[in-house]
Amino acid sequence: MTVESKHIVRAYDQELKQLNELIGRMGGLAEVQIDNAIRAVVERNVELAKEVAASDARVDRMEADINSLALRMLALRQPMAIDLRYILSALRIASDLERIADHAENMCRRAKDIAEDSGGPAVTGIQRLGKLVLAMLKDVLDASLAGDIDKAVEVWLRDNEVDELYGSLFREYLTYMMENPRNIGACTTLLFVAKNVERIGDHITNIAETVYFRVKARPLKDSLPDGVDSDDAEEDDNR
């Protein structure tokens, strides 16, 4: 039985549909925010960066709308089993999307510094990292919409690529800094941006875990094959 199959109370179905639509719209908005943030950094476009920062309030409002609808449904419908997991998942996904958008906004705060330092190191690495997480976000949102756990697991595993790429970027910028101390300022800024993108990847893995839990009613990490390091997505901002 899926969450789409009909309830006796039709208003309940409409609310679930509305919740689903809100998550979809919020996910779409987060995608645009990341895409624009990466472009603002790569193209050294300060205007675009300001636009991203201004749009963050829209993402926050959508999270508040989702929270409010979910709260109302918990109180009025007293959901059980798949419905309960669905509503809890919506709350968690909305929270991750909000954090993702915050990271996009943080990247844009650095975009101004990067734009001013046109002679700084190349940003192609960040562009690649950005493309990777953007594709992951798109796929995890598709997985969420379709309740596709295979796709959710596949996205979850792809976070390793993000971590590896972030690690190699870190080493690359470290080399620049050692070569010439005048690069330290620019490289540190770029490292902050790279870190933001890497953190977005972690939130995407959270969403993948949430989708898995919603469908299977058990944590994804309990279901991973041997040899997969389940701690990869657990690391925090301080790493």
């Binding site: 309830h7 006796i8 309940y12 059980m80 058990r218």
Partner: protein
């Protein structure tokens, strides 16, 4: 009648290793009302000192099953019960029915105090079973039962007043006091809160949780939230068949059977 070990394939027993010892057991229970079959091969263990909730849509057989446990169906002329039901391993049909009903008490949907005083309502059972040697012992039994039912403080000064003069919730607790006065081992409750307001319901639910320490409880309820709140085990019946039984937490968060999922999420047609 032989005990069948294999349960019907549609029954999923979860976490059986954690399950407490069965106080009562039912195997291959079939009930007919005339030509109509109300229960089909029901097999269920009732663990000791647990609250087992029976849920399902109207007419699914949950009350019928409850009534099998203390042979209440015996008094229904057209009812025919087959299968094995045991208490502490002994066949309930080998016991005298009066003794069985003293061991397996019952509380009904609508509070039904006798048209007697509050005291006499509770003293009724101990009197007919000759449990008290003298007035002091009887007083003790009545007071202890009222205390356990959470009613003593409210009725201490008016024990001679009629039981029917109490509020609905108090009457239901009086019926519970009456049921436990004969020191039963199992208490069957057939929708005990359906005629009560939410506050009285909450008090009964709190009481059920306390009673579990001393008694084994089986409750039929239409309220899934109530089943989820008060029970440790839940059995879902549908069209006379036991569809699924498991730990309450599992049944309400991750049921195995589509029919259970449909019922608890409100998708049943």
């Amino acid at each position: 009648m032989a005990i069948t070990q294999s349960a019907p394939s549609s029954i999923h027993a979860h976490r059986t290793s954690r399950r407490a010892q069965a106080k009562m057991s039912a195997r291959d229970v079939n009930v007919f009302y005339g030509d109509k079959q109300a229960l089909f091969d029901v097999a269920l263990d009732i663990p000791a000192h647990h609250v087992t909730a029976l849920i399902g849509p109207s007419g699914c057989g949950k009350s019928t099953f409850l009534r099998c446990l203390n042979r209440m169906n015996d008094v229904v002329e057209i009812a025919r019960v087959s299968g094995d039901i045991t208490i502490d391993g002994g066949d309930i049909y080998a016991l005298d029915v009066v003794e069985l009903r003293a061991r397996v008490g019952m509380v009904f949907q609508k509070p039904n105090p006798f048209p007697k005083s509050i005291f006499d309502n509770v003293a009724y059972g101990p009197r007919i079973h000759g449990l008290a040697q003298n007035r002091d012992e009887l007083d003790e039994m009545v007071f202890t039962s009222l205390e356990k039912a959470g009613l003593l403080d409210e009725v201490r000064d008016r024990l001679t007043e009629p039981g029917t003069g109490l509020s609905g919730g108090q009457q239901q607790r009086l019926c519970i006091a009456r049921a436990i006065a004969v020191n039963p081992e199992v208490i069957l409750m057939d929708e005990p809160c359906s005629a009560l307001d939410p506050i009285a319901t909450a008090r009964i639910e709190e009481l059920i949780d306390e009673l579990r320490e001393h008694y084994t409880i089986v409750i039929v309820t239409h309220s899934m939230q109530q089943a989820a709140r008060v029970s440790q085990r839940t059995a879902f019946l549908h069209l006379g068949e036991l569809v699924e039984v498991g730990d309450t937490q599992d049944i309400f968060t991750n049921p195995r059977d589509e029919r259970t999922q449909g019922y608890i999420t409100g998708r049943f047609g």
